[in-house]
């Protein structure tokens, strides 16, 4: 079995950001992403919609370089004004050549 070590970047964000975030993720070199509808609570409690606390959780498997680029961009462009939380963790992937 052929495995590769990659980074799983997980981003929790306001739903209005979906289009922009996924576009930026793909632009920076990711080959895909997976989105889950979630709800939650944080320090800001920003509520953008008639259903407060609703967020999306974006996961993307990327190489270390892409992960860095994504997190840099997040720190710079999204965090100042939006309710966004992001983290990265190392994972082992099969079909790793695909990413």
């Amino acid at each position: 079995m052929d495995t590769h070590d990659l980074i799983l970047v997980t981003i929790i964000a306001e739903p209005v950001l979906e289009d922009r975030l996924t576009r930026e993720i793909m632009d920076r070199g990711a080959t895909g992403y997976t989105i889950t509808e979630v709800r939650g609570r944080g320090t800001r409690g920003i509520r953008t919609g008639d259903i407060p606390g609703q967020s999306i959780r974006i996961e993307t498997l990327v190489t270390v370089d892409v992960a860095d680029a994504l997190l840099d961009r997040a720190a710079e462009a999204w965090f100042p004004h939006y309710a966004v939380v992001a983290w990265a963790s190392p994972v082992r992937v099969i079909r790793g050549d695909k990413f």
Binding site: E14, V16, R47, G49, D50, I51, P52, P80, H81
Partner: protein
Amino acid sequence: MGVSGPKLSRLFLPDCTWSPGLTEILQLNLLSPITLAFALGILARIVRSEFSLPKDVYAGLGIYLLFALGLKGGVELAKVPLGGIMLPLLVTLLLGCIRPLTSYVVLRRLARFGPVDSAGIAAHYGSVSAVTFIAALTFLDGVGEDVEGYLPTLLALLESPGIHIALAIGALKSSDRSQPMGEVLHEVLTGRTMVLLVGGLVVGYVMAPGTWEQVELFYDGAIFKGALCLFLLEMGVVAGERLSDLKRTGLKLLVFGVGMAVVHGVLGVAAGLAAGLSIGGATVLGAMSASASYIAAPPAVRMTLPEANPTLSLTASLAITFPFNIVLGIPLYYQIALWLS
């Protein structure tokens, strides 16, 4: 039933100045199923009940209501000569351009909010709440007042211009314009309300004769009103959830939310009468004009003006202006229309 008084009084008692007092009309409105359902939803939140309509059911009801509104409006639109509605359309467009400006100026100068927050809130008050519109129709139906059937056309027209005007102001004032305006324009013009309301208007307009009757029962009358009650029950829950924010957002937002509604409401009624609308039609235009968006405007503002505090605008439109209009505003605008006419 003294309820149908107003209309009867004008038809049969031309010499008599009696008309049902504001109190009588208010009471009728307070005890209507939709106001009561809304109040029940708020109460459920106040006692910290976990009750709420499932997200998808709430969205489904909203879609049904908007599409029904569009269809009915389209069917009625097909019955009137287009020339006859040019004036109401023009007046509505004017309201769509003026209201974001009055809102911005009041917020900035009188209430002394920051420029970006002012623009964000003004985008909400420049647009419109479809549920307030529907509640006004239902109220007028209850008091036996006729309205022009094509009013949903005006609703569709009033939704978007105000948002864009306010966002343009905000973009000038903001350092961080996150989203190209073109995208936001696209998003609003292809949003749920546009597809269902404008789309429904067109479908209703071009439908083959006799086909509306085949689906009318589903889209009008008791089923429409019954579904509206369930929708307002959940709107009560949603609005109730924001009541706690009222403390944080302060008294001046409360005063703004009520005051702006009354000012815009009177403006709408006067404009409606001036454009030749019936008393009922002017009341509805007043209610529309007095209302604030909480569906189309919030994401548009969030995307273009990320520095604006969304709690302020949503609390104002959803927890102040919306309940005010449903409970007190609509009967008030009706009374004003009666006086002015």
